[in-house]
């Protein structure tokens, strides 16, 4: 059983959805990443997404664009991120990378898969690598024991859902047609999307893009196995970067207590 999948099982046993926060490596600085991840762990994160910043993040809204730009302006390097997570992985919940295809392609998909796995990463999410183009990466990643997380969107076809049936880890449900960033309300189509995926794919479904607060996380947790929160968390850090760890802890703790109050559907 994949380490990621078992996280969802454990959360389900406790009657709640898994909580998956996202942070950009290198924002506010790479040296702060261990402290931020420790704070997220202490606040109850079940899986943590670590963003490798990219110069042209076309699936991201303004908050995550800004975090990536600032991280790169400070010279955040892929090799340094790998070194940093190597120290973190043994003392953290399962970690997954989220990045764009070009940094991985440039590093070499086989070498990246191996080095990420060696550093203790459990999975990889690449929003601009559709499943149909991802064969090479999946072969390399699976050989290294790294899960490549498939994405589904409100526009996804049934054919796409069929093609990801053998994926590992979990399914990343994109809640809106759009880029990352906080929304005022959860899209009404999300529930139907999750149910559609679950009829076809035997994996947990975590929902992300646009979840801004504990109330929205609770709502999504009624039908999804996991809740992914990125922009809203990074925004909280941005509001007071000097206290990034405290901001991250408080934000995720609040989400977590919200999630613990709902029982997910079995």
């Amino acid at each position: 059983m994949n380490a990621l999948t078992s996280v969802f099982d454990k959360a389900r046993e406790k009657g709640r959805a898994a909580l998956i926060p996202y942070v950009t490596a290198g924002y506010p600085t790479l040296a702060r990443l261990p402290g931020i991840v420790a704070a997220l762990t202490e606040a109850g994160a079940d899986i943590i997404e670590i963003g490798i910043p990219f110069s042209d993040p076309l699936a991201d809204g303004p908050v995550l664009q800004r975090a990536a730009t600032e991280a790169l302006a400070q010279g955040t390097r892929v090799s340094a991120i790998l070194e940093t997570v190597r120290e973190l992985a043994p003392i953290s919940p399962p970690l997954v990378f989220l990045t764009y295809i070009n940094p991985v392609f440039r590093y070499g998909v086989a070498r990246f898969s191996r080095d990420a796995r060696d550093a203790g990463m459990a999975g990889l999410i690449i929003p601009d690598l559709p499943w149909a183009e991802g064969q090479d990466l999946r072969l390399a990643a699976e050989a290294s024991g790294l899960a490549v997380i498939p994405l589904v969107a409100p526009t996804s076809t049934d054919r796409h859902l069929q093609s990801i049936r053998t994926a590992k880890g979990f399914v990343y449900g994109v809640s809106v047609t759009g880029v990352t960033g906080m929304r005022e309300a959860v899209d009404t189509g999300v529930r139907a999307l999750v149910e559609r995926v679950k009829r076809v794919v035997p994996l947990p479904v975590a929902v992300g893009f646009g979840i801004a607060n504990a109330a929205q996380a609770r709502e999504v947790a009624r039908y999804a196995d996991g809740v992914i929160v990125g922009s809203a968390l990074v925004k909280a850090i941005m509001d007071d970067p000097a206290h990034a760890e405290e901001q991250a802890y408080a934000f995720v703790k609040d989400l977590k207590s919200g999630l613990s109050q709902v029982r997910t559907k079995a």
Partner: protein
């Protein structure tokens, strides 16, 4: 000369091309690929496109020997006059095609990215012609450099969104257009301006621009009775060059793509993705890119906003990879000298983009003369849009001009 038919059904030109886009957009590009295949085979669509190109754009554009230039250089140079198209460049060949397709698909909202503003103007024009709403993304730096084109787009009823992220040029405008597309995918048609992007765009834009090469081929055969020795065209994303190259791909004709060397290939301040970049993935396809060791995209630089892009169309990457086309580069200074020289020789002020192609022919004149070359230059656009920029660069009305003559 045998050339495998590219792209394949996955949009691959050898190892290049493909579809590297968010899952949200996949159904949209699949729908587009199907709609385009149907339109391509529909004689009614083809006739309608042809009629608009003739009666609205003003095609066919002339191909004529540049007499004084030929005399000065000592070999025959022919100019394919895409500058004479409505809106002043080749860009409209593609936008009329894509907007007709958008209308056929029932999409009501048009978006586009633009660098120099030529593609934005051509998109706004086609949208106005068919009564559709157009929104154009343009880097804030380009908005400054090409203020008149911004006003043209507004006159044509388009909304222009200045993009302030990243380098504030064409690549960032493209990122922002893709973000809009992913948000409004159900109603919106994204009119991409070059032979870049996810499949089927590189193929579709090539097909729409191939009218340049089809005309040039029959015109030169009529004038000379045989094929030329060289076809020369500038390459940013690469749509005018691909448009003129493609119909000659199986002929014994040298195809020369001229990239922008900016301040020099060795300075790092250039836009020559093929000669100064490595393989990588940006804006939906695998091609050559300007990037650092971590795959972060490096800003491009060129005097010409239309070439100021850190990538290149995947079919150009393929033509380079197979050796079928040759890629060279000329600097800002050389392009500027050619801009002046063509005006004085032929009474034609070229776009700074097209001046790159002219500059390579001037630089290689000795070699071409010895080879008794017969060269077609694709004059992809006119230079009116650049006159103000060059005027200011050269010291404005003080009468002093930097020494830029060769």
């Amino acid at each position: 000369m045998l050339t495998t038919r590219v792209p394949d059904r996955y949009g691959r030109f050898g190892p290049f091309g493909g579809r590297y886009i968010p899952e949200t957009l996949m159904p949209a590009v699949e729908e587009l690929a199907e709609a385009y295949q149907e339109a391509r085979r529909d004689p009614h669509f083809q006739q309608e496109l042809k009629a608009w190109l003739k009666d609205y754009v003003g095609r066919p554009t002339p191909l004529r020997r540049a007499d004084r230039m030929s005399q000065a250089l000592g070999f025959d140079v022919f100019l394919k006059r895409e500058d004479l198209n409505h809106t002043g460049a080749h860009k409209i060949n593609n936008t009329i095609g894509q907007v007709l397709l958008a209308r056929r698909m029932g999409k009501t909202r048009i978006i586009a990215e633009t660098g120099a503003g030529q593609h934005g103007v051509a998109t706004a024009t086609a949208a106005a012609l068919f009564g559709l709403k157009a929104e154009i993304y343009m880097g804030a730096e380009d908005v400054q450099r090409q203020a008149l084109n911004v006003y043209r787009m507004k006159l044509l009823g388009a909304e222009v969104h200045p993009v302030t992220s990243g380098t504030q040029t064409l690549k960032d405008a493209t990122n922002e257009a893709i973000r809009d597309w992913v948000t409004n995918v159900r109603t919106t048609f994204y009119v991409i301006g070059s032979v870049v992007g996810p499949h089927p765009y590189p193929m579709m834009v090539r097909d729409f621009q191939s009218v340049i090469g089809r005309e040039a081929r029959s015109q030169i055969l009529r004038i000379l009775g045989h094929l030329p020795s060289h076809i020369v065209a500038c390459v940013g994303g690469g749509s005018n060059s691909m448009g003129i190259f493609y119909p000659f791909r199986q002929d014994p004709v040298a195809l020369v793509g001229v990239e922008a060397a900016g301040e020099g290939l060795d300075t790092g301040r250039h836009a020559a993705s093929i000669q100064g970049g490595q393989q990588g993935i940006l804006h939906g396809s695998l091609s050559y890119l300007l990037q650092d060791e971590d795959g972060q995209i490096r800003p491009a630089h060129s005097i010409s906003a239309g070439l100021d892009y850190p990538g290149v169309g995947p079919e150009h990457a393929y033509l380079h990879y197979t050796g079928r086309a040759t890629y060279v580069a000329v600097t800002d200074q050389e392009a500027l000298a050619a801009f002046h020289q063509l005006a004085e020789w032929e009474g034609i002020i070229p776009a700074l983009e097209s001046a790159h192609a002219v500059a390579w022919v001037m630089r290689e004149a000795n070699r071409l003369r010895e080879a008794r070359a017969e060269v077609i230059i694709n004059l992809s656009g006119r230079g009116d849009k650049d006159v103000d920029q060059v005027f200011r660069m050269e010291g404005g009305d003080t009468g002093e001009r930097a020494d830029i003559r060769i």
